[in-house]
Symmetry: C3
Subunit: 264 residues, 3 copies
C-alpha cells in the first residue's frame, strides 16, 4: 500500500498536479506517488484509458491507480473506486479506468458518495483535488472501500475499435500516437499471428506497403518506415530514427490493413 | 518537516530542477520534494506568486515552500526565508512569495546571508542550486531560521490589480490563464457577492455577455463560454470542452466587467 | 543507496517514464527516484551526456545514474553498468554516460548480459523498462555489479568538439542550448583564463561582439547579449531577460571566437 499512481490531463503548466499531491500527503504522509502521465490531451478519455491500461500491470501489487480525465466534472457522472484482486482504481466513471480493468479480476465497484472523505467545500471544477485525491489517500492508508459509498454492479466501458477480418484482409485502426510519432494500432500480436499464421503478408498504411514485422527499429535504414510489435504487444508503425506520424502524414484514426497471400 | 514544495520557471527541458533536488537530498536524504510547477513562463513573477498563493494552503503544516523565479539572480536583490505560524517560505525577495504570505501569520523574516549554508563556489546564475536548495534542505532538517542571516522587517509585495467599483459597474482584470485556456480574474467570490447581492447582472468580456455564474462547465453547451468560480474561488471565464482564451481571442490583462441591473 | 537518477528522451506525453518507475519500485520499494530530465531531444545522445555530465556531481554518493537515450535499442549495441569510486552508471554503451564518467574514478565496467535480472519477455523496443530499470533497481539494492554480466575494458566515449587555439584566437563551438535560450560553449573557465590571462579580448558570435565576461545577467541592459560563465563553468552567451538563441538567430553548432589584443 501507500503507493499511488497518478494520471491526469492537467498538464504541467499549472499547480493542479502539485495541489493533488499536497492533498494526498496531508492525509497520508507516507504516500509514494508515481506520475504516470499528466500530458494526456485535455478530455481525451480514450488515450488516458490506453496509457493506464498498458501501464498498470507493471506496478507493484496494492497500488492505488488514480486517473483524472474528467470532462464531466461537476455534472451527474459518477465517481468510482474499483477493488480488484491486486489493486485499486479510482476515477470518474467515464471509461478512463476500463481498459486497465479488462486485465484485472474485479472484486467490488463502489460509487464514491461519502462526503466524510472529501475536501470541503467541494468545488464544481476540481474533483481531482476535492474528491479523488483524498479518497485515494485514504485508500492508500487501507480505509475499507465500502466506506466510500454504495455498491455498483457495473462501470462504464470503452472499447478498442473493432478489427474486421475477412478471408484475406484484416482491417484495424491507429488508436494512439506516442511522443516519438510511433503509430500504435489496435492489432495485438496474438490476433496478428492467428490471422497471418505462416503465410506471407503485406501491411498497408496510407500509401505505404510493409512486407514484414521487424524485431528492432534498426533493422531498416534510418528514416525508413517499419512495422514492429510495440512494448505492449500492439502492432506499431514506426520510422527508424524518425516520426512515422510525420513521414506518413497520418495519425490516430487511420486505417491499417494486413493482406495475406492466400485465403485462410 | 522534511517536506519541500518546489516552484520554478526552469522548465523541464534541462537538468536544473533535477540538480536542485540532488543538492537537497545530499543535505537531507529524507526530504520529500513535491513539484508544484516548473513551467512558469520564464521570469513571470506574478504567475508564480499566483500559483504558490493558491496552492500553499493545501500542503501539510511544516512544509518548506521554495520558489525560484529569479530574473534578478546575481544582482543585489535579497534572498529571504519567511517563517509563518504554519510553514516556511524561501525565495528571492521579488514578490514571488508575497501572495502566499498574505494568507499566513508571519513570525520572522530573515535575509539569507550566511555562506555557511551555501554550496560553494556560489555561481552568479544559479542561486536555486547554490543558495535556495541548500537553505531549504537545512530548514527541512529543522535548522533554526536565525542561522541563515539577519532579521528584516518587511518583504517585497506584489498585489493583484485593483478592482474598480462604481454604482453599477465592477471592473476587474484577467490575471492568469491556465493550461486549459481558462481565464482567471482578480474578482473573488466574496467581492462578487457583495457587489451583486441578489440583483440581476451581466458579465462583459471581450465581445461576449454572460448573464449568470454556472456551477459546472457542463451547464452550458459544448464550446459555449461560461462564468464560474474556479477551484480557488476566483471568477473564471471558461468554455465547456474548449479554451476560453482561444474562443474569445483574449488573455491575461484583459478587462472583465460586471454590470448589475440596479444601482447599489 | 536506494537513490536512482533518471534521464531519458522519452518525453512526458506517454507512460514510458512512469512504467520504468513502476518496474523499479516493484523490485526496490524503497527506491528514491529523481528525475534528471526526460525531455532530451529524441536520440540526442550528446545533449543527454552533457546534462548527465554536468549534474552527476551534485547527487549524493552511491547514486545509481540511469540514462536511457538509446537510438540503437534492439540492435547489437551493448548495455553497460559502470561502477566508479562514488557511484553507479547504467545505460546503453553509446557514449551517453561518457561525459559524466570523465569526472569519476572508474572501478569496473560490466556488459549487462544476465537475463536473470531482466523483465521478461524482453521487448525489442523498450529496454528502459525490460533491462535498464530492473538492473538499476537491483543495483540500488546492493546487488554485486559482477552479477549482471561480463567484465569489459572500455566503454564508448563521446568527446566535446575540439577547441582550436592559435596565437591570438581561440575558436570554440556552441554545444548546448538550454530552455532559456542560453547558448553554452565548449570553452570552460580554466581554458578561457589560460588563454586570455590579463589581456583585453573580444568575443565574436554570429554578428555580435562582446568585450567582457559579466558576473550576472543584470550587468547588461534588458534584451542585451552578454557572455558569462554558466553554473557549470562553461562560457555561455545569454541575453538579460531574453533568449540568446532567438536574438542572435543561432544555435548548437555555431562558432564562437575569442580574440585577444596581443599575441600570447
Amino acid at each position: 500500500m501507500n503507493r499511488i499512481s497518478l494520471l491526469t490531463d492537467f498538464g504541467l503548466d499549472d499547480n493542479f498536479v502539485g495541489v493533488m499531491k499536497a492533498v494526498i500527503l496531508k492525509i497520508n504522509p507516507r504516500a509514494q506517488i508515481v506520475d504516470l502521465c499528466h500530458q494526456v490531451k485535455p478530455h481525451d478519455i480514450f488515450s488516458a484509458a490506453f496509457l493506464l491500461g498498458s501501464a498498470a500491470q507493471y506496478f507493484p501489487r496494492g497500488t492505488v491507480h488514480l486517473a483524472v480525465v474528467d470532462p464531466g466534472v461537476g455534472s451527474k457522472r459518477k465517481a468510482i473506486v474499483v477493488q480488484t484482486k491486486n489493486n485499486f482504481f479510482v476515477g470518474p466513471d467515464n471509461g478512463v479506468l476500463s481498459l486497465a480493468l479488462r486485465r484485472e479480476k474485479i472484486l467490488k465497484i463502489i460509487e464514491i458518495r461519502n462526503p466524510k472523505y472529501f475536501l470541503k467545500p467541494v468545488s464544481h471544477t476540481f474533483h481531482g483535488r476535492d474528491i479523488f485525491a483524498p479518497v485515494s489517500a485514504h485508500l492508500s492508508r487501507r480505509a475499507a472501500i465500502e466506506n466510500f459509498g454504495r455498491r455498483l454492479n457495473s462501470y462504464k466501458k470503452i472499447v478498442l475499435p473493432n478489427i474486421k477480418v475477412n478471408t484475406r484482409t484484416l482491417t484495424g485502426e491507429i488508436i494512439y500516437q506516442d511522443g516519438f510519432g510511433n503509430l500504435i494500432s489496435n492489432i495485438d500480436k496474438k490476433v496478428f499471428r492467428n490471422f497471418v499464421k505462416k503465410d506471407k503478408f503485406k501491411i498497408y498504411i496510407k500509401n505505404r506497403v510493409i512486407d514484414r514485422v521487424s524485431e528492432s527499429y534498426s533493422q531498416v535504414c534510418p528514416l525508413q518506415p517499419l512495422a514492429i510489435f510495440d512494448s505492449f504487444d500492439f502492432l506499431e508503425i514506426a520510422v527508424n530514427s524518425g516520426s512515422a506520424a510525420k513521414l506518413l502524414k497520418t495519425k490516430k484514426g487511420a486505417t491499417i490493413k494486413i493482406v495475406r497471400k492466400t485465403a485462410g
